[in-house]
């Protein structure tokens, strides 16, 4: 099967990859670029475990083709921490016990970061609706919502 050559930026690094036309961005990230932090929970855009940002916009990477990444800037969980320093959301997820199995966590963190970029001071309800595209089966969401609100508070310097 003929493969397509694609150039993109992933977590700030210029990358080139070959992919089959039907391969999704998620397939490319995981299988071609070996960035396995982004998870596949459903492959149909229903669970949010594969959330990444593409040119700053929150996306399910399973709903986008690898070839569509041409020229785009993609950010994944692997690029969320700044060296030693975890992102405040990452830190608050740990402190609030907002994760259990950890499969939804990368997508949840990417979605939460995107939410706080759009709305730095969300209410509890806004957090719940903002993360409604990300399924978590372990936590019951209680501690995730607490962690996001606490991270937002810290990031606002409140």
């Amino acid at each position: 099967m003929a493969k397509n050559r694609v150039s993109a930026t992933v977590n700030g690094d210029a990358v080139e990859f070959l992919c089959e036309t039907q391969q999704t961005l998620l397939d490319v990230l995981r299988d071609e670029l070996r960035l396995t932090g982004t998870k596949e929970g459903c492959g149909t855009g229903d669970c949010g475990a594969c959330s990444v940002t593409v040119d700053g916009r929150l996306m399910c990477s399973c709903l986008m083709l690898g070839v569509e990444a041409q020229g785009k800037s993609i950010k994944t969980i692997e690029g969320m921490a700044n060296g030693e320093a975890l992102h405040p959301l990452q830190r608050k997820f740990l402190e609030h016990a907002a994760l259990q199995c950890g499969v939804c966590t990368p997508g949840m963190l990417i979605a939460a970061r995107s939410l706080l970029e759009r709305n730095p001071d969300p209410t509890e309800q806004e957090v719940r609706y903002g993360l409604a595209g990300n399924l978590c089966r372990c936590t019951g969401y209680h501690k995730i919502v607490e962690a996001v609100l606490d991270a937002a508070r810290e990031m606002r310097g409140a």
Partner: protein, 766 residues
């Protein structure tokens, strides 16, 4: 050794605090490796061809065209696996029969459900593997199927297994049946009991199968070598049990199979059994290449085990002052394609929250053309408790007694004789009821179309085989190797905390890891809320053995008797009152000298943990019903649960909250839809709707600690019991709000709307 370690009350420094889990940073940075994240050089991708029929005889399977497709390296069918005789083994929930295990992983004579595997291929890419599946020709003779449990129990129902005769019936039946087993639990004189009762309520309830809904689909990677050695990486709740099952169905030596448990992306009972693992190994053997198999979400829904759907009948009689005299229940549970539902667990859970003299519970395990059910968090109990706690609510309401008061009048306590076996030991049921009653939630005002419901749960919890090892490293840090998979609850943190407490060192000086099957003796699956109970007991015993050896070493070094050496706060110190004084040695100092004084120091334990303490809980829920749409909104939710001892309270709360929200999904949204053709119509998260963040409120938790006398820190296990009450609690709350009584699950908007309409037409009563 069957082991019971007694509880000792002592001042605690680490147990009961909230440190960060050792697997945490890897999970927030994407570094944690789940099964689908593993790859090997030269690996192939394996895919499964699945039955499109609910029930059909397989006349032929022709793989010639698939095998000749370029890039296809191996194909396996039923011909590649040996048949297995009937033989039972424990696998987390009930027992499994290897005759069925081998037929469930790859159909033999018949396909028994939509999604049943009929062949598997391994190819150099996923796209070629998928192409190859299309080239496999399977000739089916389609047979009539049966999906519903009540239908399947009828004598003229389509029969799944011609050789299945109902077990537990005397005389032995001479005609085969879909009823695999009949169970009867009884105590006292039921008829006399009901005669004494002033009021008797009898109701029937129906529930649909629901899936565990773990976000990580099953995945594995197998590598077989030419000398018969096999390595398997897989997401499992119990790698030793997976090793046993794979070795059995593949007829290989257990010692030749090494199973490495990867980080587990949720299980909830659904990852107790093998699915693609033996297929991947067989494909790897045939192709001489590593084979990776990852299920799609559709495959997870079509072919892995949900819990049973069921039909249950409950009859309870009580006196005017609210004392339950007699109780009877019939539980008809779907087992799926093969016998072995959770009905055997559900029967003893039916009434075991109450002290009742006259009880009879009859259970039926019924095969139907659906995927073989698997365990799901307190398997079976939520289904029957929905019925029982609804009837209790109705009785309390009829008598005008407060529902918590009614339960207190009948509550089980230490010494209560159960109808399934033993008397109960020290338990905290009454404590949960009293704390719930005193909670501000219970007396908070309610608005229009709002209602409050309560319900309670009981779960046994278990011990079982467990091994662990503790190595004191040369700098005094400690490596703790456990064989009980951390199924996400944070048991690695809890084990490290208990070990640090025992050794008297800091939590972050202990690194807990889950060892593969070559590192430790056998470990049973992490199920039955046993992880922190049994795993913790093994870890504590390993630490105590290491302490004993550390003391021995110090006695040798300091030239004193062993009894002169006491272990205190991470150091060997002179025992009080001992004649022989010596300079204390810290763990670090001993560890540094260990190599030159006889070698490194470790502790280990191999136990069969006994004495698990039952868990009880009481839930309070407020709902608001939308009269226009029938939608039920959860406004407020409070859980009061006895956990024995919360080693890490935040992770215990997480178990309680997670269980309750799974129960909320079960109550309001989740169900399987099958077409008339027996094909599953909603195999995806879009149409099988699990709760999202905006569906639920904060879940308030109250931890009750009535110590389990048979655990060094009093642990009971906390993972399961809180999934039991939600369905009943929510149904009771809907009744409190609107006066309608719903007796089927899910209580989805169309169902609620219909019930409200009927009530308005005067057809329903509460």
């Amino acid at each position: 050794m069957s082991t019971m370690v007694k509880y000792e009350e002592k001042p605690l420094k680490i147990v009961g605090t909230r440190p960060i889990r050792p697997d945490g940073v890897d999970k927030v940075t994407g570094r944690a490796r789940f099964a689908a994240d593993y790859s090997l050089p030269g690996q192939l991708i394996g895919k499964v061809l699945r039955s499109p029929h609910a029930h059909a005889r397989i006349k032929s399977v022709d793989t010639t065209a698939a095998q000749s497709l370029p890039g296809v390296k191996a194909v396996v069918t039923r011909d590649d696996f040996a048949d297995m005789p009937s033989e039972f083994a424990a696998a987390g929930e009930l027992t499994i029969n290897f005759r069925d295990v081998t037929r469930n992983m790859m159909a033999r004579e018949k396909v028994l459900y939509d999604g049943h595997p009929v062949a598997a291929v391994a190819a150099i890419s996923e796209s070629i593997a998928r192409e190859a599946l299309k080239l496999i020709k399977v000739e089916y003779e389609v047979l009539p199927h049966v999906i519903d449990v009540v239908e399947a129990m009828k004598p003229d129902a389509p029969l799944l297994h011609e050789e299945q005769f109902t077990d537990g019936v005397t005389p032995k039946p001479d005609k085969p049946s879909n009823i695999a087993k009949r169970l009867v639990f009884a105590r006292g004189d039921l008829e006399a009991g009901f005669k004494q009762a002033d009021i008797v309520v009898e109701r029937e309830f129906n529930t649909k199968p629901v899936h565990q809904g773990y976000i990580e689909p099953q995945a594995c990677l197998a590598s077989a070598s030419e000398d018969g050695q096999v390595e398997l990486w897989t997401g499992t709740q119990g790698h030793f049990v997976f090793r046993a099952q794979c070795a059995k169905v593949l007829q290989m030596d257990v010692g030749k199979l090494r199973v490495v448990p990867t980080e587990l992306g949720g299980g909830f009972g659904g990852k107790n059994n093998i699915y693609t693992e033996p297929l991947a190994i067989a494909l790897s053997r045939k192709s001489h290449r590593p084979v990776k198999m990852v299920m799609t979400r559709e495959e997870v829904f079509r072919a892995t085990g949900p819990t049973s759907g069921a039909n249950v009948k409950v009859k309870i009689g009580c006196t005017k002052d609210g004392r339950i005299i007699a109780a009877e229940a019939e539980l008809n549970f779907q087992a799926g394609a093969f016998a072995g539902s959770s009905v055997g667990m559900a029967c003893p859970c039916t009434f075991t929250r109450y002290d009742i003299d006259n009880v009879k519970v009859v259970g039926h395990d019924v095969t139907v053309n659906r995927p073989k059910v698997a365990a799901y968090r307190a398997p079976g109990a939520p289904i029957i408790v929905f019925g029982v706690e609804s009837v209790i609510d109705e009785l309390a309401k009829t008598l005008g007694i407060d529902p918590i008061e009614f339960r207190l009048k009948n509550a089980a306590k230490e010494g209560t004789q159960t109808y399934y076996g033993p008397k109960l030991g020290p338990i905290g049921y009454i404590e949960t009821l009293n704390k719930a009653k005193a909670h501000p939630h219970y007396s908070a005002p309610l608005g229009l179309n709002q209602g409050r419901g309560i319900a309670t749960g009981f779960w046994f919890n278990i011990g079982m085989e467990t091994s662990s090892r503790l190595n004191v490293n040369e700098d005094g840090t400690v490596t703790l190797i456990m064989g009980t998979v951390d199924v996400a609850g944070g048991s690695r943190a809890s084990m490290a905390m208990m070990v640090a407490e025992e050794l008297g060192i800091a939590y972050d000086r202990v690194r807990p890891v889950i060892g593969d099957t070559t590192t430790l003796g056998f470990n049973f699956i992490t199920a039955g809320s046993r992880g922190t109970f049994a795993g913790g007991m093994a870890a504590v015993l390993s630490a105590r053995q290491a302490i004993e050896r550390l003391r021995q070493r110090v006695a040798q070094i300091r030239e004193v008797a062993l009894e002169d050496v006491l272990w205190k706060d991470g150091s060997a110190v002179p025992a009080p009152g001992s004649a022989k004084q010596f300079t204390p040695m810290s763990l670090v100092e001993i560890a540094r000298m260990a190599g030159k004084t006889g070698g490194s120091i470790s502790g280990q334990s191999e136990i069969n943990a006994q004495g698990a303490g039952p868990g009880f809980c009481t839930h309070i829920v407020d709902v608001e019903v939308d009269k226009q749409t029938g939608a039920v909104k959860i406004l407020r939710y409070t859980i009061v649960q006895d956990v024995g001892k919360a080693i890490h309270p935040a992770y215990v709360e997480g178990q309680m909250q997670g269980a309750a929200v799974q129960g909320i999904g079960w109550s309001l949204n989740e169900e399987y839809f099958y077409g008339a053709d027996g094909v599953l119509q909603n195999p995806g998260f879009l149409d099988y709707r699990v709760p999202v963040a905006s569906d639920v409120p904060y879940i308030d938790t109250v931890i009750v600690e009535v110590p389990n006398p048979n655990h060094p820190y009093g642990v009971r296990g906390c993972g399961e019991v809180s999934i039991i009450p939600p369905i009943a609690a929510i149904s009771n709350a809907i009744n409190n709000a609107m006066g309608v009584r719903l007796r089927s699950q899910p209580m989805s908007p169309p169902v609620v709307l219909k019930a409200l309409g009927e009530a308005a037409g005067g057809k329903s009563k509460g």
